[in-house]
């Protein structure tokens, strides 16, 4: 009688089967022929292979569903998956191995997920779900998600499995010789995310032979708490007469797998190039060895697709700037859906030294779940820093957690039963490091004792929900020292007690403490140092503040966390200490104009000097209104450069440098105008059409249009015609700009224009892109053809009748 796999997995040696592809090729599978087709055409051959692996001693064997999905087999997934499991069941009977487990084998879709490729996360989940449902209905015993080179795709598959079955889920990923996944993930980051998602076991397969895989297996055993599965190839692939061959024979393979078994892994098998004989020898070798279950690990890890941040002696900086609280400009960006502004706030903090980014996009009047999803997905397209999802909106939290590629930090839960019951199930499902605020229905306790009691309650609630305590980080809460001078003492005492009594990690937003006081950074940096002394693990702060970063770096140097003080010297060696908060000085090397005041705003823009341009705009704002500066200086300067570009005396890089300088100045003006309704020349939509993923040209156009005072609604790339039409209508936009790179995608440009014409014939369309010509533009019915970004600006000026103003 077959025992539940979960009763055996991680408690005794289990063996997986070996390679399938190479053996099928020996049986006549043509290069490029899809193996899953053979479930219908050659079931006998598939069955025989299964039988040979079962006879060799495999306990878990893969139904022939690795590449099965509806992209490759539209309309046939269910039939082929059922056939695969049926063949596997027959093999089990034939081999006399009723104890063996049939894995529904899930390989990559063959496409890359956004933002790298064009497959959406939701579509990926559905592609996997289809196979898993069919495989489970046909009687599969587990879901084996394997050969994953992108953690995002692995996450989609895990969610598909968990949302459609109760079967055990095992995930094995592919790493290269340097220990990296295709998308940059490491053993540490993959383990953090997958354990967070609640997989039953995880491991490594393919790409490497056992010898090369050994150090990675070792790392995985060291980081993972769940059972570890190792399925290497029979050595590194080699090309021989156009055929891929593997050189490690059964005996050598078995010996190498014996060494991997000694590391303390719990299950072993093979991948490409391994045969039933490889598995037989391996089983013989390993069965004689003592089995060790994996041990629980106590690392607190936050991860992104590429990076794992582990809490430890070295405190972690969480950048607080993606947050609208008290920031007019940021609120405006949220209302305008100005995602790029939000992203730039993140990148600025990364450059300043943040290790995790807090993401708070909550405003009462906006659709926070939608925005949270968009900001999270866009942020992970541009930065590898892990994110902290900061919201009280439970739908927004779920959206963030679902679309996040990694194990996020969650800010936050607290001692209120209602909040615990909402937040903890989500953290249990998606994984995460959960911040627990020490407040409850009665507010914030005045004493450390009261706060520790709430922390205790949060830990116990986590136990109940099955969230490991290592994934709870306690926020002892900072109240303002100006209203209660014992506030800091209470907070610090809470930090100490959590550390000492619970061996727990702590987090604090260190800036609250100084609210209502002058020179806040002096108080903040002193408080930061005090909290770090008490063992604070995570500091939520503004990394752009040089004073705060100096305090942090000084702490590291003095706490023996900065070898030879190198970090401190590198960061602070040339620092000028000023106790003046707020204004940011121009970066060195950008004061080419000489002494302050020697250069006009126009010159700064013409020369493309972003630092001085911003500074000069700030000075000009003291006496003049923003709009007149933009119209009288900024745009004319840009125009001069633009004309040079049109004449061919100025080249693209200089044009863009001026555009960046104008943007920097414009950004300062925007801050000044953030609370007033803005006067814009008009609204323009830009989009790269469906099927096209190259949009740098469109992005240049966007920058130029914005600099010329247009409100640009950027729909991105690969945009379906319907979306362009819908937004053009809902936003009441008179001009739509479309870009396409290739002849093949000009077709979708034509379709987009056709659909616009159908609904709103009065909307003007300007087209551009590498393949585009005036003739082409006429043929597909565009109103204007723009050969470059300047031409698009001229075109907009014509449509809006604004050309004369500048």
């Amino acid at each position: 009688m077959k025992r539940d796999l979960r009763e055996r997995l991680g408690k005794e040696w289990l063996f997986f089967d070996g390679g399938m592809g190479t053996l099928l090729q020996e049986k006549g599978l043509q290069g490029g022929e899809l193996p899953e087709r053979w479930n219908q055409t050659h079931p006998d051959i598939i069955r025989e292979l299964h039988v040979r692996y079962l006879e060799a001693g495999a306990d878990v064997f893969n139904a022939n569903t690795f590449g099965l999905n509806s992209l490759k087999f539209p309309g046939e997934v269910e039939v082929l998956a059922s056939a695969a499991v049926k063949i596997a069941k027959e093999a089990r009977v034939q081999a006399g191995r009723p104890d063996a487990y049939i894995a529904i084998d899930i390989g990559p879709t063959g496409k890359l997920l956004e933002p790298l490729g064009d497959l959406s996360f939701d579509d990926a989940v559905e592609l996997f779900a289809e196979v898993i449902r069919a495989g489970a209905a046909a009687g599969g015993d587990l879901v084996l998600i394997e050969t994953m080179s992108d953690t995002y795709e692995a996450k989609a598959a895990v969610l598909a499995a968990k949302e459609n079955t109760d079967l055990p889920v095992i995930v094995t990923c592919v790493f290269d010789g340097k220990g990296k996944m295709l998308t940059g993930g490491t053993v540490d980051s993959a383990v953090a995310m997958l354990e967070g998602l609640g997989v039953d076991a995880l491991g490594i397969n393919c790409s490497l032979g056992p010898e090369q895989m050994l150090p990675l297996a070792k790392r995985m055993v060291w980081r993972a708490s769940v059972p570890v599965v190792i399925n290497p190839n029979a050595g590194l692939p080699r090309n021989e007469n156009g055929q891929t061959v593997y050189d490690v024979g059964p005996e050598e393979f078995a010996a190498a797998m014996g060494a991997i078994a000694d590391l303390g892994v719990q299950a072993l098998g093979g991948c490409c190039g391994t045969t039933p004989e490889h598995i037989r020898r391996m089983v013989e070798t390993v069965l004689d060895k003592p089995f060790h279950p994996n041990t629980p690990k106590y690392y607190t890890v936050v991860s992104s697709f590429s990076t794992a941040v582990t809490a430890g002696r070295k405190p972690v900086i969480v950048g607080e700037r993606i947050n609208p609280t008290g920031k007019k400009r940021f609120k405006q960006a949220l209302r305008d859906n100005d995602i790029d502004y939000i992203l730039s706030q993140g990148l600025e903090q990364e450059d300043a030294g943040a290790e995790i980014l807090d993401v708070n996009v909550g405003l009462p009047e906006i659709d926070e779940p939608r925005l949270m999803r968009e900001v999270v997905t866009k942020l992970q397209g541009v930065t590898g820093l892990p994110l902290q999802l900061d919201t009280t909106n439970i739908q927004a939290l779920e959206a963030g957690l679902r679309y996040y590629n990694g194990k996020a930090m969650v800010n936050s839960v607290n001692g209120k039963d209602e909040v615990i019951d909402q937040v903890m199930p989500l953290v249990k499902k998606y994984g995460g490091v959960l911040v627990g605020l020490t407040l409850d229905e009665d507010g914030i306790p005045e004493t450390a004792e009261g706060r520790v009691r709430i922390a205790q309650k949060i830990y116990e609630a986590a136990d109940e929900y099955g969230i490991p305590r290592k994934d709870i980080v306690i926020d002892g809460l900072c109240l303002t020292a100006s209203s209660d001078t014992s506030a800091a003492k209470t907070t610090l005492e809470t930090v100490r007690r959590i550390r000492e009594e619970f061996h727990g990690h702590t987090i604090l937003g260190v800036s609250n403490i100084s609210f209502g006081l002058p020179q806040r950074q002096i108080i903040n940096s002193a408080f930061l140092t005090m909290a770090l002394m008490k063992g604070l693990s995570f500091a939520i702060m503004n990394p752009n503040s040089s004073q705060m970063m100096a305090a942090y770096r000084a702490y590291l140097a003095l706490a023996d966390l900065d070898p030879r003080c190198e970090g401190f010297i590198a960061a602070c060696g040339d620092m000028q200490i000023t106790v003046n908060s707020g204004t940011k000085a121009a970066p060195a090397g950008e004061t080419a104009g000489g002494k302050e005041g020697a250069m006009s705003l126009m010159t700064a823009i013409e020369k493309g000097l972003s630092g001085p341009a911003g500074q000069l705009m700030r000075e000009a704002l003291a006496s003049r209104d923003p709009l007149s500066i933009v119209n009288d200086e900024l745009i004319p300067a840009l125009d001069k450069v633009g004309q040079g570009f049109e004449k061919g005396t100025v080249f693209l890089p200089q044009l863009l440098m001026s555009a960046e300088a104008a943007k920097a100045a414009f950004e300062v003006a925007k801050e000044a105008m953030a609370d007033k309704p803005r006067e814009q020349k008009g609204k323009v939509i830009v989009a790269t059409v469906k099927g096209d993923i190259h949009d740098i040209g469109k992005n240049i156009v966007k920058v130029m249009l914005e600099n010329y005072g247009y409100d640009v609604l950027d729909l991105g790339k690969d945009v379906p015609p319907e979306v362009v039409v819908e937004r053009a209508v809902s936003e009441n936009v008179p001009l739509v700009g479309l870009s396409a790179l290739m002849t093949t995608t000009v077709v979708s440009m034509e379709e987009t224009i056709r659909q616009i014409r159908q609904v709103r014939p009065e909307i003007k369309v300007v087209v551009g892109g590498a393949v585009m010509t005036q003739e082409y533009a006429d043929r597909i019915g565009a109103d204007y053809y723009a050969k470059d970004a300047m031409a698009t600006v001229r075109c907009a000026d014509e449509v809006f009748g604004t050309g004369g103003e500048s």
Partner: protein
């Protein structure tokens, strides 16, 4: 590790023509961006040789592909084998470009140009290995020819995936519109022939840009690598600077 890239080529991609060169500030940025691209690249390559079968003048077949592309057939005339190749710089350069697009558009363009030059150099490197191996067998290589050039349809990309297993082996995946991701990737056919034939501007006429392409004249077969280049579109054509015509 990808080979050194030609700085002058990056400047050309950025629109500098003839005697004009980048000023020191831009030049410094080009240097930094080249370094970043090299550091963030994880180059991969896969290739395989197949016999070439002619169906008279009408069509030819290789690797399970039957094509009637006149431009390709002209290129392969006299060949008996072809090599299918695919190379990529991996997802790193794309990430650098996306990141710069948020912070500094100029930098994004320089990354784009440096990435294009780097994938071209990597392509050239792999091509050179193929050339040497072929010569050991007494065969000569023809200029590489990519899906999307002239009348060689982009649909052939699916065959490249089928035959070379690009997704699994080096991480190249096709979009629905048959572009490659990561974008700094190239696929190409290289003909192998017993007769030595000098490389000439095979692709210029095929892309219809003969005489008007800003790249022609710089280097042998330069235009061939920019099939979507058209005159006077300095800004928007940056989108097309994926040489070797993966179409992107």
């Amino acid at each position: 590790m990808i080979p050194e890239t030609d700085r002058r080529e990056i400047e050309r991609y950025l629109g500098y023509k003839g005697i004009h060169a980048a000023d020191p500030q831009i030049s410094a940025m080009i240097g930094l961006c080249m370094e970043d691209i090299r550091r963030e690249s994880s180059p991969g390559a896969v290739c395989q040789t197949f016999p070439l079968v002619w169906e008279g003048e009408e069509a030819c077949r290789f690797a399970g592909i039957r094509t009637v592309s006149r431009n390709l057939m002209q290129n392969l005339r006299g060949c008996e084998e072809v090599v299918l190749m695919a190379v990529t710089l991996g997802p790193g350069p794309d990430r650098l470009i996306r990141r710069a697009e948020v912070q500094n558009m100029l930098k994004a363009c320089v990354y784009q140009a440096a990435g294009a030059a780097a994938v071209e150099a990597w392509c050239e490197d792999v091509n050179e290995k193929i050339r040497k191996e072929a010569e050991e067998k007494g065969l000569y290589t023809r200029p590489r020819f990519s899906p999307g050039y002239g009348d060689f349809p982009l649909e052939v990309q699916r065959d490249f995936e089928r035959v070379l297993q690009m997704r699994k082996k080096i991480g190249i995946a096709l979009t629905d519109s048959l572009l490659m991701t990561p974008t700094k990737s190239v696929t190409a056919v290289i003909g192998l022939s017993r007769e030595k034939r000098p490389c000439h501007k095979q692709g210029c006429e095929s892309c219809g840009m003969a005489g008007s392409c800003p790249f022609s004249g710089f280097r042998e077969c330069e235009a061939r690598r920019n099939p979507y280049q058209s005159q006077g579109q300095m800004l928007l054509t940056l989108t097309s600077y994926d040489p070797c015509g993966d179409g992107g």
